[in-house]
Symmetry: C2
Subunit: 197 residues, 2 copies
C-alpha cells in the first residue's frame, strides 16, 4: 500500500499516524513538493486536485486525508476505529467534517501562512482557530475522546494540525482539556509523532 | 425525526432533499435565524457550533449536514446511497470532504457574501468556486454520478450549493457536464428543489 507523502503535511501525517496505530504497513513515496511534483502529470492523474496525501492500494486510488482514514479503518482497522452503527458512525463523521472545514481553514491555514508564506487572511484563520479550539476544548471537558467514548479516526483526523498549531502562531496552552486529550492520544500503542516534532 | 431548519440554507436543504429521495419523514422545525434562535440557549445545547441543520431522532442529536446524510443513509437509506465496502465508501467520503471544504468555502461563501451581506473575501471565494467547479466538471466528463457509478449521498452533499451558486454570482452555464449531472439528479424520484428556486 503506497502513500504519496510530504513530511511537512499534517494531512499526510494523519494517515501515517492512523496506519501506525492499526499496524498497517505503508510504503512511503516522498513527493518533491518544492519542485511541484504533486502538480505534475503523473500525480495529477492519480489526484486531479493536485494535492497530497494520495493512497494507492492495488487498484484503489484515494485522495483526501479523511477519505483515506475511512478506507483504512473500514478495511484494516475495524469497528473500533470507525463504527458501522448509524448514530456512532455519524458521531465520528461530524469530526471528519470539522477536520475538512474548521481545522483546514483555522490552524492549518494559519500554519501555511506563518511557516510557508502562503498568502491568505491571517486574522481570519486565527479567529477561526480560536473558535474551533474553544469548541473542542469545551466538548472534551467531560470526555476522553472526541467521539463514541473511545479513540477513533475522529481523533486521528483532528489531532495533527492541533499538535503543530504553534507553527501557525496558535497556542493551545490555555486549552487544558485539549492538552489532556493530546496526552491520551500520544500514549496509544503505535503512536508516532509528526516528523520534526 | 425532527430537523431544525432554515429554508434559505443549502445545508438544511441537502438533508431535506435526501430525506425526500429515500422517503424518510422529517418533522420540520423552522428556526428563527434573524432573531438568532440558533445561538440561543435551547439550540446551543443541541449544537454548540450555533449552526443548523440539527437532526433529532429519539436520543440521537446530530449537527453537520454531511454527518446527518451519513446517519440517514446508514439507518434509513441503505447500501445504495452509502456503500459499506471500504473503497466504495471512501469514494463517497471524498465528496463529503469536498462539501465541507471546497463547496463551503467556494460557492456557499460567495452566496453568503452576495445574498446575505456576510463580510468575507469575495475574490477568494469566487476563485475557489471556479477551481472546484472545473474539477467537478472534468470529473463528470465520463461519469453520470460523482461516486461509485450511481446516485449517492455524495451527489446530495454537493448539489445544493451548486444549484444556487448563481445567488453568489457564480454561473454554472459553461460547465456542461455539471449541468447534465444536475438534470439527472433532478429527475430522480422524490427530488425536491431548494425552496424559492
Amino acid at each position: 500500500m503506497k502513500l504519496y507523502d510530504l513530511e511537512l503535511s499534517g494531512n499526510c501525517y494523519k494517515v501515517k499516524l492512523f496506519a501506525s496505530l492499526i499496524n498497517a504497513p505503508l510504503d512511503i513515496v516522498p513527493v518533491d513538493y518544492l519542485q511541484g511534483e504533486h502538480k505534475g502529470e503523473t500525480l495529477l492523474k492519480l489526484n486531479p486536485w493536485g494535492e497530497i496525501p494520495i493512497l494507492e492500494d492495488g487498484n484503489v486510488v484515494l485522495r483526501d486525508g479523511q477519505a483515506i482514514l475511512v478506507y483504512l479503518a473500514n478495511k484494516y482497522g475495524g469497528e473500533a476505529w470507525w463504527p458501522s452503527e448509524a448514530h456512532l458512525q455519524a458521531d465520528v463523521m461530524q469530526w471528519l467534517s470539522v477536520a475538512a472545514n474548521e481545522i483546514q481553514h483555522g490552524p492549518n491555514t494559519s500554519r501555511l501562512i506563518e511557516k510557508f508564506g502562503v498568502e491568505s487572511d491571517l486574522a481570519l484563520s486565527l479567529a477561526r482557530s480560536t473558535r474551533i479550539l474553544t469548541l473542542i476544548n469545551n466538548h472534551l471537558a467531560d470526555k476522553d475522546w472526541l467521539a463514541v467514548n473511545r479513540p477513533t479516526i475522529a481523533d486521528c483526523a483532528i489531532y495533527p494540525y492541533i499538535s503543530i498549531a504553534h507553527e501557525g502562531g496558535v497556542s493551545v496552552d490555555e486549552y487544558t482539556h485539549i492538552k489532556a486529550w493530546m496526552k491520551r492520544l500520544e500514549q496509544l500503542p503505535g503512536y508516532i509523532s509528526m516528523p520534526g516534532n
